[in-house]
Amino acid sequence: MTLELNPTPNLPPVAASQAAVLRRALRSPLARNRAALVGLVILVPLLVMVFFPALLAGDPNVQDLSASLQPPSAEHILGTDKLGRDVWARIVYGARPTLLGAFVVVVISGVIGIPLGLVAGFYGGRLDFAIMRVLDALLAFPALLLAILVVATFGSGLGTVVVALGIIYVPAMARLVRSVTLVHSRLAYVDAGRALGFSDRRIMLRHILPNLVAAVVVQSTIDLAYAILDIAALSFLGLGQQPPDPDWGSMLADARSYLLQNPWPAMSAGIAIALAVVSVNLVGDGLRSQLDPRERER
């Protein structure tokens, strides 16, 4: 007798909402998931760079023109760039604009995209049509092109880039939330909630929204990885963080011109970007399996 039927075989995994579940998931951690553990091992130093850069390196903007383009040494573990600035310090201080910027991009896309997708999927009809067509129009533009357009209008700077990317990332998030909401609002528990007299708002916020957590977490980590790349790309083009403050994309752009004399600055920035993207993806994957009460049992 198979009483343990899987009720929603084709659904995205379901997430646990309760704080207790989350706490337990994080405590008995991703340990069983080796890939996620690797991601976490990379992510932790990156987070230290973001929040406590002074612990790891000195001033990234101190120039020493007599010691430019040095290879790695005891004094400068990743060498120096063409103005003699310490590459390690610039990597450490460059983490914040890149990573925190990408995080804010995802937060903006979630804050706008989740309510839009939830309402569109739950109510359907004309409201759904209106919301989704506007988002489709937004989706039709290449992300970088739209960001460049915004920057050209409002002036360059990290803040403008982050807000522009945040809005550009809304359609992906809203579409995902809408599709999961569509599935869930047709499940019997939503009807059961209605039959108990719950209001639409209560059903959306207390019953459907928690079921979106897993999908949103996964989408957010994917978006986060892309946002890191997009921010780096825009800074590479000189539209993000402005000199002399360090940031991985602009470091890459600067280092390009003397790549053959000293590859260390370019490689350091490139590897930092790659590691950040990989770790975010691995942790996101692990988090998803931890947030699913069914997958946790296995």
Partner: protein, 353 residues
């Protein structure tokens, strides 16, 4: 004993005497707006259920039984459907009231048990929390009090080890246990009317019997009115006092269960009864009613059953038969029900014999 329990339940509230209709539906019509024009899914359905009574609503898919139950619950989408007629809940009209007032009635005065217990519970909340939410929402109970009450309800619906079930997630429960949790949830606010929409369809046979027994005990002990929606004639015979047979959104026949299938007054009921397996029968194949139910968007003129009826006359194909009393306590909508009552009309069903 039934009377005293029922009496205690309503002691603080409305006054009620046995036999009065707790739920009275009059000439219910439900129309859906579709791209192909309006579709009438329910057409003039009337029914009454008294406290402590169980009425079965029988019909095949598309006969309008689920739409009727949803109309009573006020769960039909307001933008694409229109409900006309009258639904009286203990004297209070429900048709046309605001969604806000309906929300108060749902759960508190009418509750519903769904067909599919596998998806009718939110996978993210423990069973106890889901029942507790209803109690907190309607009665403003605190979480710990609501959870204690949920535990008691779980014991009432015969869940083994209710303390453990309170803390379990839906995926940790079997289908039968989940259906018991659903029933506990529906009972949480002590509704006067319970609608059970195919409550046993998704369960295996032994569990079905247990759930039916539970429903019977609950109706008896709590003096609820139970409207049981099903296509399973065995379930109707098991549980209901009266049955209403729906066909294409209309009532074909209404009768006490003990006489309905023995001496049907409508050819459709006769066909259903004939196609039910009998342990004493030695026929290799069961008789069947040829054809399928009409498309609700395109119901034939006259009696909707006439295209499939072995006894259809020209009159049946032209004129909708009214629902009339055939013998005291029984109603049928058939031009030839007199002949069926008298036993002079013999129906021969197609199909291999």
């Amino acid at each position: 004993m039934t009377a005293t329990r029922a009496g205690r339940r309503v002691a603080g509230g409305r006054h009620r005497t046995a036999g009065d209709a707790l739920l009275a539906v009059r000439d219910l019509e439900v129309e859906f707006r579709t791209s192909a024009g309006p579709v009438r899914a329910v057409n003039g359905v009337s029914l009454e259920i008294a406290a402590g009574e169980t009425v079965g609503l029988v019909g095949e898919s598309g006969s309008g039984k689920s739409v009727t139950s949803r109309a009573i619950m006020g769960l039909l989408p307001p933008r694409t459907s229109r409900v006309r007629g009258s639904i009286l809940l203990d004297g209070d009209e429900l048709v046309g009231i605001s969604e806000k007032r309906y929300r108060k009635i749902r759960g508190e005065r009418i509750a519903m048990v769904f067909q599919d217990p596998l998806t009718a519970l939110n996978p993210l909340y423990r069973a106890g929390e889901q029942v507790a939410e209803a109690l907190r929402f309607h009665f403003g109970m605190g979480q710990s009090e609501a959870l204690r009450r949920a535990r008691d309800l779980f014991a009432d619906v015969g869940l083994p080890d209710p303390d453990a079930v309170v803390r379990q997630y839906p995926h940790e429960l079997s289908g039968g246990m989940r259906q018991r949790v659903m029933i506990a949830m529906a009972l949480a606010c002590e509704p006067e009317v319970l609608i059970a929409d195919e409550p046993t369809t998704a369960l295996d046979v032994t569990i079905q019997a247990q759930i039916l027994e539970l429903l019977r005990d609950l109706v008896r002990d709590r003096g609820m009115a139970l409207l049981l929606i099903t296509h399973d004639l065995g379930v109707v015979r098991e549980l209901c006092e009266r049955a209403i047979v729906l066909y294409a959104g209309r009532i074909a026949e209404q009768a006490p269960v003990e006489s309905l299938f023995v001496a049907p007054h409508h050819p459709y009921t006769a066909g259903l009864a004939a196609s039910n397996p009998q342990i004493s029968s030695r026929r290799a194949r069961l008789p069947q009613i040829a054809g399928g139910p009409p498309n609700p968007a395109n119901v034939p003129p006259g009696c909707p059953f006439s295209p499939r009826c072995p006894a259809a006359l020209d009159r049946c194909r032209a004129e909708v038969p009214p629902l009339l009393e055939t013998v005291p306590g029984r109603l049928a909508a058939c031009h030839r029900s007199d002949e069926l009552v008298a036993g002079t009309l013999v129906l021969s069903w197609e199909g291999p014999t």
